[in-house]
Amino acid sequence: MAAHQTNLMTIHQDDIAKLCRLAQIALDDGERAATNADLDKMIQMIDVLQSIDTDGVEPLAHPLDAAQRLRADEITELVDRDRYQASAPAVQDGLYLVPRVL
C-alpha cells in the first residue's frame, strides 16, 4: 500500500531513504529504524489536521497577514570577505573549497 493512496499514516523504508536524500542526511541502520518509528508517530499526530474543515479558508503564511517589505535596490553595506570567511572550514584566494565536482 503506497503511503499516499489510501491514507497518509504510514511511512516506508523507501520513503525514509528518499527523505534522507532530499535533506542530505545519512542515517546508519540503527538510526534508520528509530527514525522510521518516530516519523510514523509524527505523521499520525499531524494527520489529525485532515479532519478539520478548512473549506474556503485561505492559508496564513504571516501571522499578521503582512506582505514582504520592499526597499530601494541600493548598496547599504559592504561585505568584508576575509572577515566573513574566517569561520569557513577551507578557503583559498577568497573561494570556498569543496571536493572536486568535475
Binding site: 527523505l19 542530505q24 542526511i25 538510526e31 509524527m42 496564513l60 504571516h62 503582512a66 569543496v98
Partner: protein, 491 residues
C-alpha cells in the same frame, strides 16, 4: 549584594555608588563559575569581554552619560550572534562558530551599556521543551536538580532562578521563553511577532520565531523591552509599530503601585482548563481570584481550534526548519566532516555528524510535509488551520482584553522521562503554541508551587498589547510573592 536583587534594585544601587559595574560583573561571574559545573546553564562564559564592557560602563556612569540599564549584567541565549564570542546554538554544528557580527538585539543592549556575562545553554537550534537536546548536555533545574528546566531557553531560565544573572534573553518559537520560565519560577515575555528584530538570531521557524526577555519579576521585563523592541530594517518582517508606550512604561516604572487598567476583562479559554491537573487548576483559580480582587472581570470564553495547534505547529515549524537548516552544508561555516570524498559526502556526513537526533527528526518531518504529493495535504492544510487558530483569538479579543491560561500542563518533569517519546514531549507545548501561531504576545508569570516546584500562569493579549500584559503582570505581583521565592541550593 543580594543574588536575587532585581534589575531595578541593582540599577539604583549602581547609580548610588554602592558598587561599580566591574564589581557587579565580578560577583556574578564568580557565582556562575561556582555553579556551572553542576547546573550547566551557560555554554560560554565571556568573563574578559564582560569586564571590558563593565569598565566602559563605569566610565559612562562617572561621565554622566549612562542610560537606565548601563553597567547591569545580563546573559544571552546562545542563539543570538555575538561578535567575537562563540554562538553555538546548542549544536555541534556551530561548536566552532564565532559570528562576525552582533544580532540587533545584542547590539542595542551593548549600546545601552549592558554587560554580557555569557551565552546560556539551550536545546539544539531551539528545538525542545526540556533542554535535554543540547550538544553541551542538559541544564538542571535549580529547584530540583533531578528535573529539567524546560526548553528551549532553559539555560536563561535556570540562571535566573539560581541567582546567576538579573536578566537574560531568550527566544520563543512555540513556548521556548514561557515554558522554561514557568518551570523555573521566573517571568518571561514572548513579544508579538515582528516586535523584536530577528536579525542575528539563528533562524529556526521564521514565521514564528520571537526574541524576548526573561527576568525574576515582570517590572524587569518592562525595563528591558523598550531597548530590544522596535523596527529594524535588517529584518524583513520587523514591525514598524511604535514603541513609545513601552518606553513610557519603563520610564515611569513604579512596580509597587502597579494597577490593572480600569474595567479590564480577562477571558479564561475553556479548552485550556478542560483536563487540567487538579493542583494546577487550584493555582489558576487562585490567580483568577487575585486578578478579580485587583478589579478585573473574568469570563469564560472558547477558542475552539486549540486542540489543532500542536499538529499545526509541528507541520509549520518543521517545514520552516528544514528550509532554514539547509544552510548548514559543511562548505561555508560550521562543522565539516573529515576527508569528504565528494560533494554529496561532504553535505551528508557534515550534517549527519553536526545535527543531533531531534534536529534530524524535525528536518526529515519538514522535508516530508514539503515534498511533492504531501505539500497541500500537510503544509498548506496547516497554514489554513493556522488562520482558524488566529481568527479564534481575533474573535475573542472583540469581547475580552486579555486571556488567562496555564503556561504548561505540569511542573518540571524528571530528566530522561520524555526523551524517548517525542510526541508526549511535544504535548508540553499545548498551551504555548497557539499564541505563537497567532503571533500574539504572551507573558508567563509564577502563580504557585506544586510539591516544591513552581508553576506559571500565562496572559495572552491582542497583537502589540505588550504594555497591557506587563501592566497586568506587575499588578498581579503586587498581590503575590511567588516571584520572590527562590530555590535553596543553587548547585
Amino acid at each position: 549584594m543580594d543574588a536575587f536583587a532585581s534589575l531595578g534594585q541593582l540599577a539604583r544601587a549602581l547609580n548610588h555608588g554602592d558598587f561599580s559595574s566591574v564589581e557587579l560583573a565580578q560577583e556574578h561571574l564568580a557565582r556562575i563559575e561556582a555553579s556551572n559545573p553542576t547546573l550547566n546553564s551557560f555554554i560560554t562564559v565571556s568573563a574578559e569581554h564582560a569586564l571590558t564592557q563593565a569598565a566602559a560602563a563605569d566610565e559612562r556612569i562617572a561621565a554622566g552619560t549612562a542610560g537606565p540599564l548601563t553597567g547591569l549584567p545580563l546573559a544571552h541565549k546562545d542563539i543570538f550572534c555575538t561578535d567575537g564570542i562563540r554562538t553555538s546554538c546548542g549544536s555541534r554544528m556551530l561548536d566552532n562558530w564565532i559570528a562576525p557580527y552582533d544580532a540587533t538585539l545584542v547590539a542595542r543592549l551593548n549600546d545601552a551599556g549592558m554587560v554580557t556575562l555569557g551565552k546560556t545553554n539551550m536545546d539544539e537550534f531551539a528545538m525542545g521543551s526540556s533542554n535535554e537536546n543540547s550538544y553541551y548536555g542538559p541544564v538542571l533545574n535549580p529547584w530540583d536538580p533531578t528535573r529539567v528546566p524546560g526548553g528551549s531557553s532553559g539555560g536563561s531560565a535556570a540562571a535566573l532562578a539560581a541567582g546567576l544573572v538579573p536578566i537574560a534573553t531568550g527566544t520563543d518559537t512555540g513556548g521556548s521563553i514561557r515554558q522554561p520560565a514557568a518551570f523555573c519560577g521566573v517571568c518571561g515575555l514572548k513579544p508579538s511577532y515582528g516586535r523584536v528584530s530577528r536579525y542575528g538570531m539563528v533562524a529556526f521557524a521564521s514565521s514564528l520565531d520571537a526574541g524576548g526577555p526573561l527576568a525574576r519579576d515582570v517590572a524587569d521585563l518592562a525595563r528591558l523591552m523598550p531597548l530590544i523592541a522596535g523596527f529594524d530594517p535588517r529584518d524583513s518582517t520587523s514591525s514598524e509599530q511604535p514603541v513609545d508606550r513601552l518606553e513610557a512604561l519603563a520610564l515611569n516604572l513604579d512596580e509597587s503601585a502597579a494597577m490593572l487598567p480600569p474595567g479590564l476583562t480577562i477571558g479564561l479559554p475553556e479548552e485550556y482548563f478542560a483536563d487540567l491537573d487538579g493542583a494546577l487548576a487550584v493555582c489558576l483559580d487562585q490567580a483568577r481570584a487575585t486578578l478579580e480582587k485587583l478589579g478585573a472581570r473574568c469570563v469564560d470564553v472558547s477558542l475552539p481550534h486549540t486542540a489543532a495547534a500542536i499538529p499545526t505547529y509541528y507541520v509549520i515549524a518543521s517545514a520552516e526548519a528544514s528550509t532554514n537548516l539547509s544552510r548548514y552544508d559543511g562548505a561555508r561555516f560550521g562543522h565539516r566532516c573529515a576527508h569528504p570524498t565528494n560533494l554529496d559526502d561532504l553535505y551528508q556526513r557534515s550534517r549527519s555528524e553536526g545535527f543531533g537526533r531531534e534536529v534530524k527528526r524535525r528536518i526529515l518531518t519538514g522535508t516530508y510535509t514539503l515534498s511533492v504529493g504531501y505539500y497541500d495535504a500537510y503544509y498548506v492544510k496547516a497554514q489554513r488551520v493556522r488562520r482558524l487558530i488566529r481568527d479564534d483569538f481575533l474573535r475573542v479579543f472583540e469581547d475580552v482584553d486579555l486571556l488567562l491560561a496555564p503556561t504548561a500542563p505540569n511542573p518540571a518533569f524528571p530528566l530522561d522521562q520524555l526523551l524517548a517519546d517525542p510526541i508526549r514531549m511535544y504535548q508540553q507545548d499545548a498551551f504555548t503554541v497557539p499564541a505563537s501561531l497567532a503571533g500574539i504576545p504572551a507573558l508567563a508569570v509564577p502563580c504557585g508551587m506544586i510539591d516544591g516546584l513552581p508553576v506559571g500562569l500565562q496572559l495572552m493579549g491582542p497583537h502589540f498589547s505588550e504594555v497591557e500584559l506587563l501592566e497586568a503582570g506587575m499588578a498581579f505581583q503586587t498581590e503575590t510573592d511567588w516571584h520572590q521565592q527562590h530555590p535553596e541550593a543553587t548547585g
